[in-house]
Symmetry: C2
Subunit: 415 residues, 2 copies
């Protein structure tokens, strides 16, 4: 089954916005077994849209279009589709009610331009857009399906997940497809593949294992397809358990969530608290954690001690330690972590000090040298990393390594 994606909008072609919709849609389509042949971005121009659609119909069974559905004059997707399919526009009552309701709720006056949002080509199936005023339109043409979606990402995503993907599975009588993701950290892709080789070779043809690597983390995704959804679910769960038993050391959590969210989930279950003491990561670890609602149950706060003066005054690092070993050292980073435990009164503290670059590197401590320590009330451990990347990469990798070290410490505390 082949699909194509056409994104419509001058803002894409002048580089004002990055088209993130296509990648997200392609990923979702792949997950239900539909391959994307081509992604095309075209301008808000009727001839150009028509040409792109005509060419896509020659190559694919499914064509998903986004954008150009707003109320203003430059949004011409709807009228272009009506002409393309030789249809007349009709005013759709359900859409009009929905649009009217939105305007009433926000207490805004409604003009004729807004009412026109309810006009749709008379041969299409209208799918209501709960999150916006532009309806989604579903066309069938000689065995092909063409869908026009709004370009606003969260409107498009909701419609894809709730409406379009299930309808496509049904229309093409596709088998049930299930996925289960396991988050691992602290092991390279090739090493993990060796660990799991036997399990991978034992997988039946309808279940596949994908390695999705990202900066010190690998997501393992088991994807299966089958006629019986319940049976499939049990089968996949069986392999999830095999993987967890085999590679448990590196398994963070059996959910598809961010590393720091996994840390928060585990610590909250165990009623543990955390603080941070950051030098080269400059607040990035705290910022990752505090993106997540409810983090305050675990995260008390932390210090960004960029200067040596603050390492001493806020975290109690000794001047003699800094003099003897420097800011980027095992001794300093341990004192930072212990200082955080003591000052911020948390169960765990993580500290990072390194040379992020591009300046500040020496022969002994080149750019990318990073020390990370994790302290509990009982002990403190530290480890050195050599990332040797660019500044932003070093910061990002340091944060991931720090979160992974806390997760490892949590595992040992259970054992």
């Amino acid at each position: 089954m082949l699909a194509e994606i056409i994104t419509i909008g001058d803002e894409i072609l002048i580089g004002q916005v990055v088209d993130t919709n296509s990648a997200w849609m392609a990923k979702q389509l792949n997950l239900i077994g539909i391959r994307v042949k081509q992604i095309t971005s075209v301008s808000d121009d009727a001839d150009h849209i028509t040409e792109a659609l005509k060419l896509a119909e020659k190559r694919a069974d499914i064509i998903l279009m986004t954008g150009g559905l707003g109320p203003t004059k430059d949004d011409i997707t709807k009228i272009t589709l009506a002409r393309y399919f030789n249809m007349e526009l009709r005013r759709d009552q359900a859409t009009l009610d929905h649009v009217t309701d939105i305007f009433t709720r926000f207490n805004r006056p409604m003009i004729d331009m807004n009412r026109k949002q309810a006009d749709v080509p008379d041969g299409c199936t209208v799918i209501q857009n709960k999150n916006g005023t532009a309806p989604c339109m579903w066309f069938e043409n000689q065995g092909r399906i063409i869908v026009s979606l709004p370009g606003v990402p969260f409107e498009m995503m909701y419609l894809m997940e709730e409406e379009i993907l299930p309808r496509l599975q049904q229309a093409f009588k596709m088998p049930a497809i299930l996925h289960k993701t396991i988050l691992t950290a602290g092991i390279g892709e090739s090493f993990l593949a060796v660990e799991l080789e036997e399990i991978e070779n034992s997988l039946p043809a309808h279940i596949k294992l994908a390695y999705l690597p990202k900066l010190g983390q690998i997501r393992l995704r088991l994807s299966g397809s089958g006629a019986d959804e319940e049976l499939l679910s049990k089968e996949i769960e069986h392999y999830v358990q095999l993987i967890i038993n085999k590679a448990g050391k590196y398994v963070v959590i059996d959910q598809d969530i961010a590393l720091e969210k996994a840390l928060l989930t585990i610590m909250q279950e165990r009623k543990l608290t955390l603080s941070t003491a950051e030098s080269c990561t400059g607040g990035h670890i705290a910022q990752l954690i505090t993106q997540h609602p409810g983090c305050s149950a675990v995260f008390a706060g932390g210090a960004v001690t960029y200067s040596n003066a603050l390492k001493m005054s806020v975290l109690g690092v000794k001047a003699s330690t800094l003099d003897a070993h420097g800011a980027v050292s095992e001794q300093t980073v341990k004192e930072m972590a212990l200082g955080a435990i003591h000052q911020f009164k948390t169960d765990y503290a993580v500290a990072v000090s390194g040379v992020a670059g591009p300046d500040g590197g020496t022969e002994q401590k080149p750019v990318g040298t990073v020390w990370i320590a994790v302290a509990t009330k009982q002990n403190v451990t530290a480890r050195m990393f050599n990332f040797s990347g660019r500044r932003l990469q070093n910061i990002e990798r340091s944060a991931v390594a720090a979160l992974t070290m806390v997760l490892n410490e949590l595992k040992q505390d259970v054992a």
Copy 2:
């Protein structure tokens, strides 16, 4: 002058990577007066690449392709282009020397696959890729220009800026184009447009003013084209001065840099230091600042006091203040800022406390209520904001507002 961009790679079509190259390239092309007609993403498939190229040649004068230039079997752009243009492959000595040099430097063994990176179609102009092993190839075909670039963003960007854009300007004898950007903050787009209406109306036809808004900041970009570059530069500078004189209150800096980088630049010039005291922004302000090399000249560090306990122990906020007014209040945020000034011994401190959401809102202090204070050794000022967005938006907007408040305070201290 019309261009098309073709990005090649299965990883784009399965949604594994978001194609950010196209938007960046489109923006750069627009800046020198070349309009992008279409962006097409195709798979690593010879027929598909050939078809896309054939269609693009019908629509555009310039075709820029990225990706598919690696050493492995699935990278087939080069061989496909050779066949398309009826050329033979020849081994390019300059490229071979360059690749050999890279392998020698990294002390890696070189196999035949790597040497093949130096093979190029014999009718193209080879442009060396200083940042990688895949050379860039420039073809001319019946007045059209077709360029194949590597897909790795920083390799592509360097080649575009240093080689391709200047060569395109020369090949099509395009006029000189100059841009100058002024960063403003703290004023809405429509209000700024009213302020600048007269200046905008007085602009000659060959100079245009663009408003580029982004979360509490607006970049004003003056773009001009002309035969005489020196004269054009003087003209643009004249209008830059008119704008600064008129809207100086909102002008941060006459450079196209990030808001926090502007703050660092201004404070470093005046030898001033800064610290942060963050609650709801959770380290985001510190993280924005510490992205930039050399920030340590200005930024000493800060505290992420997520819990009330830390607001008291680290920043010295009084328990009675928290009891009487709550964590999100003028009194608390002022004590946080003054605490930072006192504890971290900096010239300036900025403090933020707010309800980022989605939980924690009340009738008096709904989600999006944020208090921000800026303290110097002499005084402290605070202001309340109502952002009422989603969590990540509220965090982002709070950070921008905090940086803007520090910038405004810096202006007053000069006056």
